[in-house]
Point group: D2
Chain length 254, copies 4
């Protein structure tokens, strides 16, 4: 496969030096290792090496969904980490054909991952109250060709959920307890609610409301990701670590 | 939706008491809370409550893919945990349409999760050298209707990979370094190799071979999952924890 | 040094097979590897090997304070783990000459460690409301010769602390917030209060009371201990782990 | 107690703004909140508040051993964390009267904590090959009045240990396996060797040498410290965390 105008590409140099950009004629990418002319990239096969004007090499790749979201997307908000997104989507059994309600949309990062999984026959209904975020999310989703699988809704999910027979409701907002009753109505039997929350107090309150409203299979977990620096005869975890992102509460409608 | 003969159902009582069974006329499920007659379950709507002969209630649900795999599957081998499976599938960008090579098949747990994600248009090529495991995996995959998306192969993946233009190679075997060269050939540009390994020595050796053979974007991580016991005014992590499952090495073909 | 009657000794076979016993003429120790006659042990130098009647060898050692407390002590209560005890004593700057108030005494495990550190010139004042625990603690402390450095007090510390100019107050009880005011009075300027607590709700409440009563340098931490199984070319963390013991709140009187 | 010239004092403003300084007439302490004249501090009782020339208050305290070491000491080297120091000293049963061998001295941080615990009758024998570090350590230890309990030795511990009947040998150097044989000779029966090491490869090699040379009770652990940010109804772990310092290997001479 060869690079065409309009493609989103990954320029990879190292774990810390990656760029996700849209190929446009005449556009230049400025890096600390020199400038890459995107005009020169058009027509090259994926996997090629391209040089900056200083002769430094980058590898040209198709971005994965994680590259696209975590490197390419504009961000207006705190973004969910891949470790948490991964656990959420498997806990919620999201795959092609799933119908998922999500709130808030934020910059659309989790929305994009969900859309990537439910395509081509499923759908993501994403609620957001801040119009400026919806705009950013729309642009981000469009840039990776996933907007078709998403319905972006300018609506406060605390006021109600319009859909029904939903497979999963995924909540990344500060007061999910105000959404549990709506989620119960929109979920199919056995459907999953997942909430992502930074504080212990929020998980306590959410869990209690879930129990009170008859949800079952309630689990609360957190995930710690530890990265390793591997060298021959000198392998060790990295010194600094993200020690906390958030807790994940999951439950099912009976 | 109503239960039909031949359905796989989840009988849920509590976090610790769940059964995944196939509905067959005349079959009885013996639990420590009494016997459930499956004949009586046929025709009931999902979400119903059913009683054992001792009057204890279970809720009748459609099992999620995780229920099916982790409760319903016969296991002949050590099984990958959901936290690791989740991280692996997102790292490998597996979704509908993906073409994935996996080894070894084992009991088919990860195979099933992969098949669930690549369906309906993708495919999982799963290599295994022990014929008895392939039989178990086949039966497990068939029980959840996912066998159509999987090609089970009685072949030592160290001897070579038959496919090409593969999106991801996922290795859960003790010596992935013997597969890296084959993986490089079968992966498309930008395709991902992921290896799951229990010891530090294995990740060191695997990482070095990946680097030597030109793979990029090499990451080594481990995930710790901590479960919480939530009670009003008394919330805390659970005392016992699985402190180690394995390390995850990921890399990409340039 | 040679073993004398009345000595407390450690009989060591492996990490999982250790016994701490008092040497008494005519006493036999029954293990799953056979019987050890303590009469035969008297007069042997420490470091000797002794055999059971089945010919299995144990090594004869002087027990460390941790052996004495965690293997030798009678336990009537949940016991603080070494990782937490260690962090607490260093945070509280306990060493020879320190004057420490502790509550509740429980089985006297932390009391013994504190006494071991403050000896010979310091003193531990240990409060307990359940008389039967004080009896056990007394016996335990006496068995290791540390009773002289401890004042065991049958008193509810919530009713007040009798001592003053105390260097550290260490609280292992469910409602430390009821002791903070008393602790403030008994501590010297710069003296440290440490509370060990299993739930998040308790640390929140304790921290807030500490702040409200003018304590400074308030820190809340938890410690996770991970054990490794080391084998040549096969080193990994142990599978099972204690995922939670408790949180440690520390603060100082200005 | 009142501040006298020559005292080491702690000036505390908040968890992030602490100073440990020696009181000298005419000396000024420059902080981002203004200047504190130490001449004005002499004669004040500990626990007083002092003001900078901008009117900002600091609390005047006697520093704890941790304040003295971690805030007051000059550092020329990577320094062991309190969580690890705490676990090491309890594992090695260090208390008043203990005779401890340590290498390398480095900036003397662990040396000072050991001296603080063994005083007044015990002794720390600290080996270091780099003379400039010994100078720094000497100055640091002297500043807190602990030099009398330490023998600083300009000697490569790999060449041998001069002392005998030692209670504990504590090694913070890259190749402890070269010291194990010497440690075995100098330790009393039951004495403890502890090594602190950043990489997995080092713990594997050290553990194997310990086993081969007949050490018993070999344990390898690591400690993860997680700090919490406590606010009413909003309590959570801190986002950033030190994810790795080092592994601790301990063993005993039979």
């Amino acid at each position: 496969m060869h690079v065409r105008e309009g493609d989103i590409i990954l320029l990879y140099r190292s774990l810390k030096r990656k760029f996700v950009v849209k190929v446009e004629k005449g556009r230049d990418i400025h890096t600390d290792l020199g400038v890459i002319r995107l005009s020169n990239v058009i027509g090259l096969p994926y996997g090629s090496r391209v040089k900056t004007h200083l002769g430094e090499e980058f590898i040209l790749l198709k971005p994965s969904i994680l590259d696209a979201v975590y490197i390419g997307f504009k961000r207006k908000t705190q973004v969910i980490y891949p470790k948490d997104a991964a656990y959420i989507i498997l806990t919620a059994s999201v795959s092609s054909g799933s119908r998922v309600v999500e709130a808030g949309t934020g910059s659309g990062c989790l929305t994009a991952i969900l859309a990537y999984l439910v395509k081509p026959t499923g759908r993501v209904y994403s609620y957001e109250v801040r119009e400026e975020f919806l705009e950013v999310a729309k642009e981000n989703l469009n840039s990776v060709g996933l907007l078709d699988y998403v319905e972006l809704k300018l609506k406060d999910i605390r006021k109600g959920i319009d859909e029904d027979q939903i497979d999963a409701v995924i909540l990344d907002l500060p007061d999910p307890w105000n959404v549990v009753e709506h989620a119960r109505k929109c979920l199919r039997s056995g459907g999953v609610l997942v909430a992502f929350l930074p504080t212990i107090n929020q998980i306590e309150r959410t869990s209690i409301v879930l129990r009170d409203l008859g949800f079952i299979d309630i689990c609360v977990v957190e995930l710690l990701l530890r990265e390793y620096r591997v060298e021959r005869d000198s392998t060790r975890p990295k010194t600094l670590m993200v020690g906390h992102t958030g807790y994940i509460v999951s439950a099912r409608r009976p």
